[in-house]
């Protein structure tokens, strides 16, 4: 089955229809998704700002990343779950939406960026833990992360607007 076929099947499942048509649940799920911006993304931004040397400069990097890490993971889980529900409520239109595709691509890049950072420069964090301005590799990863998340938030917000929807899709 193609991805589009899968979305068309998903759209006809009773729970998807119920969620789409619900008066309260859909807005509540969307609010949860937006509020996790404060929770997951806010903390991620603080870690990135530490890595580029702009915030919390006197706190060791491993402390900022290590202590905020579990909170970020929890926030991300809520964000991903609520995001999946939002997709589930409107699968076909979302799948065809150009901003949704951009967002998914950027999310994948942000994931790769975080993974590379963990596997390379962060491995040697003991050497630069106390530096007010971490090494170039760490700063680069943080700037890339910040830039990607700006794009993800902007693209995410744009999904709701339908200027680029193919005719007949809603």
């Amino acid at each position: 089955m193609s991805l589009l076929g899968f979305c068309q099947w998903l759209e006809k499942t009773p729970w998807s229809i119920a969620l789409h048509e619900s008066l309260w649940v859909y807005p509540i799920v969307e609010s949860v998704h937006v509020l996790t911006l404060c929770w997951f993304l806010g903390l991620a931004v603080m870690v990135d700002l530490r890595l580029v040397g702009l915030a919390l400069r006197r706190v060791p990097v491993s402390q900022v990343a290590g202590q905020l890490g579990p909170w970020m993971v929890a926030g991300f889980a809520v964000m991903a779950a609520s995001g999946a529900l939002l997709f589930y409520a409107i699968p076909v239109r979302t799948y065809l939406n150009i901003f949704f595709r951009i967002k998914v691509g950027m999310l994948a890049l942000a994931g790769v960026n975080a993974w590379v950072f963990q596997k390379t420069v962060y491995r040697r964090v003991a050497k630069w833990d106390l530096d007010a301005a971490p090494p170039r590799g760490a700063r680069l990863a943080a700037w890339v992360s910040l830039a990607l998340w700006v794009c993800i938030v902007v693209a995410g917000r744009m999904i709701a607007y339908n200027w680029f929807d193919p005719p007949g899709v809603h």
């Binding site: 807005p27 969307e30 609010s31 937006v34 509020l35 911006l37 404060c38 929770w39 993304l41 806010g42 903390l43 991620a44 931004v45 603080m46 700002l49 915030a55 919390l56 400069r57 006197r58 706190v59 402390q63 900022v64 202590q67 905020l68 909170w71 998340w149 700006v150 938030v153 902007v154 917000r157 744009m158 709701a160 607007y161 200027w163």
Partner: protein
């Protein structure tokens, strides 16, 4: 006196009209409003989680709070400028919108609290203040900002 004439005037401003008549401006400004939300959220949460004793317990609270406060102020500046722009494009809708008034009623105390009580509590000598006061401060802060963000999102759903 009713505030309605003021809201009507806001909606007639050049900025309000430009945003209302543009396809792109509202969503783009809204996106930056959201990015500032993330910044405020991070700056507030780092300190509140520390006040609750949940993270960075070994770091001096006063230091942490002073640094985070700068980002909170920066985030708030972006938030207020973009918020005023969004507001001016649909001021009359806001006037009749319960979520809008809920948000404003929480926003004023949230800002005042952040720059008075919470700032003092975070700067106080940690050994001289009972942990209960720090926890209470954090909970009030989180509750106020939660209402601001949640009712803010709700403005778009209602009316």
């Amino acid at each position: 006196m009713s505030l309605l004439p003021f809201f009507e005037w806001c909606e007639r401003t050049a900025a309000g009209e430009a945003i209302r008549n543009s396809l792109w401006l509202f969503p783009v400004i809204e996106s930056f409003h959201l990015l500032a939300l993330a910044l405020i959220g991070g700056a507030v949460l780092v300190v509140d989680l520390r006040l609750l004793g949940l993270v960075l317990r070994r770091q001096p609270l006063a230091d942490l709070a002073r640094e985070a406060q700068r980002w909170l102020a920066g985030g708030l500046a972006v938030m207020i400028v973009t918020g005023l722009a969004l507001f001016s494009s649909e001021a009359i809708k806001c006037y009749y919108n319960l979520a809008f008034w809920t948000k404003m009623s929480a926003l004023a105390p949230a800002i005042v609290f952040a720059f008075t009580v919470r700032r003092k509590v975070a700067a106080a000598d940690e050994s001289r203040l009972r942990p209960l006061w720090r926890k209470l401060t954090a909970l009030v802060s989180i509750a106020l900002w939660f209402v601001v963000a949640a009712s803010g999102r709700w403005i778009g759903f209602s009316g």
